[in-house]
């Protein structure tokens, strides 16, 4: 599949802006959401090709965001990559059960993150 649009969801500003700059530099169109509600709204309006989703978010957490997106016909096919500081196995399970396609534990280098994105491009 072809990936052109990436939605980055993180309330930590240095992280989201860094990711936005790095992806933009590589030619992707990047959308940023800083809370759960904003994330859902953007997922519907911008129809990203992939979503990089933090779990600990204001207003609505990442698990809830993932569940809503996976429950809707129009958004359920969008791969959701969870990127979270929560690294306990139950937390990982919770994310996967909510419908996340991949659960990544912080800290991750940008090349590693890019690697995961590229993996979907090759599918």
């Amino acid at each position: 599949m072809e990936i052109q649009k990436i939605l980055v969801v993180d309330d930590d500003k240095p992280i989201s802006s860094y990711l936005q700059r790095k992806f933009a530099k590589l030619g992707y169109t990047v959308y940023v959401a800083e809370d759960g509600e904003e994330a859902v709204k953007q997922a519907f309006s911008n129809r990203p090709d992939i979503i990089l989703l933090d779990v600990k978010l204001p207003k609505m957490n990442g698990i809830e965001v993932c569940k809503q997106l996976k429950a809707d016909e129009t958004t359920k096919s969008i791969p959701v990559l969870m990127l979270s500081a929560k690294a306990q196995s139950f937390e990982i399970n919770e994310g996967l059960e909510a419908g996340a396609d991949k659960y990544l534990c912080k800290p991750m280098s940008f090349p590693d993150i890019l690697g995961e994105i590229r993996a979907y491009e090759r599918k």
């Binding site: 860094y18 500081a85 690294a87 991750m108």
Partner: protein, 840 residues
């Protein structure tokens, strides 16, 4: 439930994620900065190479104070870098305040136009350097940042090349230094990410800085790639080529701007420079073709940018200079050709000491010197000035007026001849030096001709005057003769009828004597009128003089002048003339009595005769034609005749003597008339206080006097049919000799030149040759005799000549030729010489 540790771990993970991203970001920025520094370094290398390669001095001014300058700038003006930096422009332009024009260049800050002026800038050593100065704002938006000045010194292109080389080394050091500094900055940037913006600004400014300098060097400057593409070009290059930068950079090759004839040579240099730049010329001239096809002469300075295959070139348009140079050269060539080809003798000499710098062919011809003998010598060294005082006068005159026109001077040629020359001179600039150009006009010949014409006119005038007087005298004499006939006749009759004792008989006798005296005067007048002179007798002047010496007149004359000593010198073989013995006697008497009377206090009176052959006309009181002459000369050591009198002495009644004391006032008139009636000539030489000489030329006659002569019997020199060849270039002479010899029973033939004689003798044999010594043109007698001796050894010959015995005559005699006979000769003389030579 989550433990505290789990919460801590989650927080740590979150922080770590931020750190990782920060680190990544720093790393990335650091890489960017490294690249930026690399770019900056390249840019600086490039610009420094440009500034280093240029022969133009470049500086950055802020408030008229030097902030930076390149080495060319300091080198042109002789100052050290540290002496200039921080100083104001007054240092190189001391009169800046006084000159509004000067201010413009330093206050270029008010507009963005390139200002260009020529100035004399002050060198450290006090001298002046003429420079083309251009100025432009460093930053158009911010005049406070100062402006860039560029100065160009045309006159010292070569010296600057050498200094450029040094300068480049210096720049390399500067670049190294800067690189080191930048490295330090790099490290700092690695640590302090926030400073990157500042660095970027510095980079941008630095680039602007160098770009501005590149743009404002005042000369067209380009950077060229190995494949001949123009990578960078400045405004001046746009102007020069007619293309915009966008049309040039990376799009055109420099080869498009070079004329075909120069391209190969430049392409060779282009390649060679990239192999070893030492082998390629650093600067040269070539012809540039711009967009419109105009050809421009360009002075190019080029060098490699260190560490690259690129070169940087400065192009200076010297078309106008070249044109001026060519025009000057052509003008000098034209002058030189005109100078050499001029038909007017012309020289160029130094003002200070008059040494010849150049002389033309005409001058050499006129003076008889070769060019090498003249150049670098002065006229006074070669004694060319005939009168040095003329030189001094001319120099003074020249110094006063700065030129001279048609001044008459006298110059001595190499052969010693003095020439009358008109000289015009003035100062000209020749090869950058003030020299004197002098033109000459040789008027020697013209003056000689004028003098000759003057003399001719005088003679003509004299002859006409004598003619007119003669006619007058003749008319008077004729009437007077009738009157006197009556007077004398009746006086005689009266005496016959008168008583012997009559007291009035005495008066009648006086009347008759006076009448007779008057008749004598009339007779003289008739001589002057040239009527009644019969020049038909054969006369020998020696006899005439001796006859006169026996007369009572002569004896009476010398009893009156006892202190006068008389000497005679007669040519023994004096030739005869045709004439009237009576008139010739009167002539001698008049000349002798005049001579005696000219010496009241005594002196010597000389009477001489001689034969003379004139082979060319003689200019004197009279114009005497060539030919054989008998000459009578009467000279005294008396008072002499003054120059004004000289023109009148032959006029009747023009006398200096006291009237009535002696003579009739017609003495010299009678002489004149007599000589003219004898087809002769008169020459008078006189010097006041020293005496006078009257020389009379009478043409000879070959006729013999009927009376007996004391001479050798003809039988002694008669021929016996021997064959004689006469060689003489003068027809009359050779006919005369031939006839004389035939008369003497010789067989004779004649030829008119030595060459003909040789031709004749190839198949003839002569018993003797009568050989003229002087023949013109062709061989003379000596050469002819030499050649004849080759065909006929021991050929007998005698030599005749109108001149006295010369070395050439003696040489011929040493070779075997016999006697020498001087012309004119009589039959006896030549007959005896021939006879004796044949019998020897």
């Amino acid at each position: 439930m989550k433990t505290i540790d789990m919460v801590k771990e989650e927080q740590q993970r979150r922080l770590l994620q931020e750190y990782i991203f920060d680190l990544e970001d720093i790393k990335e920025k650091a890489e960017e900065i490294t690249i930026a520094h690399e770019k900056l370094k390249q840019s600086q290398d490039l610009i420094m190479a440009v500034l280093g390669s240029t022969t133009h001095g470049i500086c950055l001014l802020r408030n008229r104070t030097f902030v930076w300058c390149n080495k060319a700038f300091t080198d042109i003006l002789g100052w050290e870098l540290e002496e200039i930096i921080g100083k104001t422009t007054e240092m190189i332009h001391p009169h800046i305040g006084e000159d509004e024009k000067s201010n413009i260049i330093y206050d270029a800050s008010h507009n963005n136009k390139l200002i260009m002026h020529e100035y004399d800038l002050a060198h450290k050593d006090g001298s002046h350097v003429t420079c083309l100065v251009t100025g432009r704002l460093f930053d158009v938006k911010d005049p406070s940042r100062g402006h860039v000045l560029s100065i160009t010194d045309f006159s010292e292109r070569k010296r600057m090349e050498e200094e450029l080389r040094k300068h480049r080394n210096h720049l390399e050091e500067m670049v190294k230094e800067r690189t080191a500094k930048l490295q330090t900055a790099n490290e700092r940037l690695h640590m302090e990410i926030n400073e990157r913006r500042h660095v970027e600004r510095a980079l941008k400014e630095s680039e602007n800085w160098y770009r501005t300098i590149f743009e404002n060097t005042g000369t067209a400057t380009v950077i060229l790639d190995e494949n001949t593409t123009i990578i960078l070009a400045n405004d001046e290059y746009e102007r020069l080529s007619g293309y915009t930068r966008d049309e040039l950079e990376s799009k055109r090759s420099w080869t498009e701007f070079v004329v075909k004839e120069d391209l190969n040579r430049m392409m060779e240099s282009h390649k060679q420079r990239r192999i070893d730049k030492k082998d390629a010329p650093k600067s040269y001239e070539f012809r540039f073709r711009d967009r419109e096809g105009h050809i421009k002469n360009i002075f190019l300075t080029i060098d490699m940018i260190p560490g690259t295959k690129r070169s940087v070139a400065s192009l200076l348009d010297i078309t106008e200079r070249k044109k001026a140079e060519d025009a000057l050269r052509e003008s000098e060539e034209r002058f030189s050709k005109a100078f050499q080809a001029s038909p007017t003798p012309t020289i160029i000499s130094t003002i200070t000491d008059g040494h010849y710098l150049a002389v033309n062919e005409q001058w050499c011809q006129m003076m008889g010197y070769s060019r090498d003998e003249l150049i670098d010598h002065a006229a006074h060294e070669l004694s060319i000035w005939a009168y040095p005082e003329e030189r001094n006068a001319l120099i003074n005159n020249y110094a006063e007026r700065g030129f001279c026109r048609d001044e008459l001077i006298h110059l001595r040629t190499k052969s010693g001849e003095i020439k009358d020359v008109l000289c015009s001179a003035e100062t000209i600039s020749h090869k950058g030096e003030n020299v004197i150009l002098s033109l000459f006009h040789d008027i020697t010949e013209r003056r000689r001709m004028e003098e000759e014409r003057q003399a001719l006119q005088e003679r003509l005038y004299r002859a006409e005057k004598m003619e007119a007087l003669g006619t007058l005298a003749g008319g008077v004499a004729h009437d007077l003769n009738n009157v006197l006939g009556v007077l004398v006749g009746y006086s005689e009759l009266l005496l016959l009828k008168m008583d012997e004792a009559s007291p009035i008989r005495r008066y009648v006798i006086d009347i008759m004597k006076s009448g007779e005296r008057a008749a004598a005067i009339v007779q003289d007048l008739l001589t002057l009128a040239r009527r009644g002179v019969q020049a038909e007798a054969v006369v020998n002047l020696n006899t005439t003089i001796m006859d006169y010496q026996k007369t009572p007149d002569f004896k009476k004359l010398f009893s009156l002048h006892p202190k006068v000593q008389i000497k005679t010198s007669f040519e023994t073989d004096l030739l005869n003339i045709m004439g009237s013995p009576v008139h010739l006697g009167k002539t001698i008497m008049n000349l002798v009595s005049n001579a005696a009377e000219a010496m009241p206090n005594g002196g010597t009176l000389n009477i001489a005769t001689r034969n003379q052959y004139l082979d060319r006309p003689v200019q004197g009181y009279d114009h005497i034609r060539e030919g054989d002459y008998v000459i009578l000369s009467v000279s005294d050591t008396g008072e002499g005749i003054s120059t004004p009198d000289m023109n009148h002495i032959f006029e009747p009644f023009y006398t200096k003597k006291v009237m009535g004391r002696s003579g009739t006032g017609l003495g010299l008139s009678v002489v004149w008339g007599t000589v003219k009636d004898h087809n002769g000539y008169i020459n008078v030489q006189s010097q006041e206080g020293k005496g006078s000489t009257f020389t009379l030329h009478f043409p000879v006659t070959r006729e013999e006097i009927a009376r007996d002569r004391i001479s050798v019997p003809v039988s002694e020199y008669m021929g016996h049919g021997e064959f004689i060849l006469v060689v003489d270039d003068v027809e009359g002479q050779r006919e005369l000799a031939t006839r004389m010899l035939m008369e003497l029973n010789y067989r004779a033939a004649n030829v008119s030149s030595g060459e003909e004689a040789l031709e004749y003798l190839k198949d003839h044999k002569a018993d003797l040759i009568v050989l003229d010594m002087i023949m013109d043109p062709g061989m003379d007698g000596l050469d002819t005799y030499k050649r004849i001796s080759e065909i006929h050894p021991k050929q007998k010959a005698i030599i005749v000549s109108g001149f006295s015995e010369t070395d050439r005559v003696k040489k011929a005699q040493m070779l075997g030729a016999g006697a020498y006979v001087q012309k004119p000769y009589i039959m006896e003389k030549i007959g005896l010489a021939v006879r004796r030579e044949l019998d020897s």
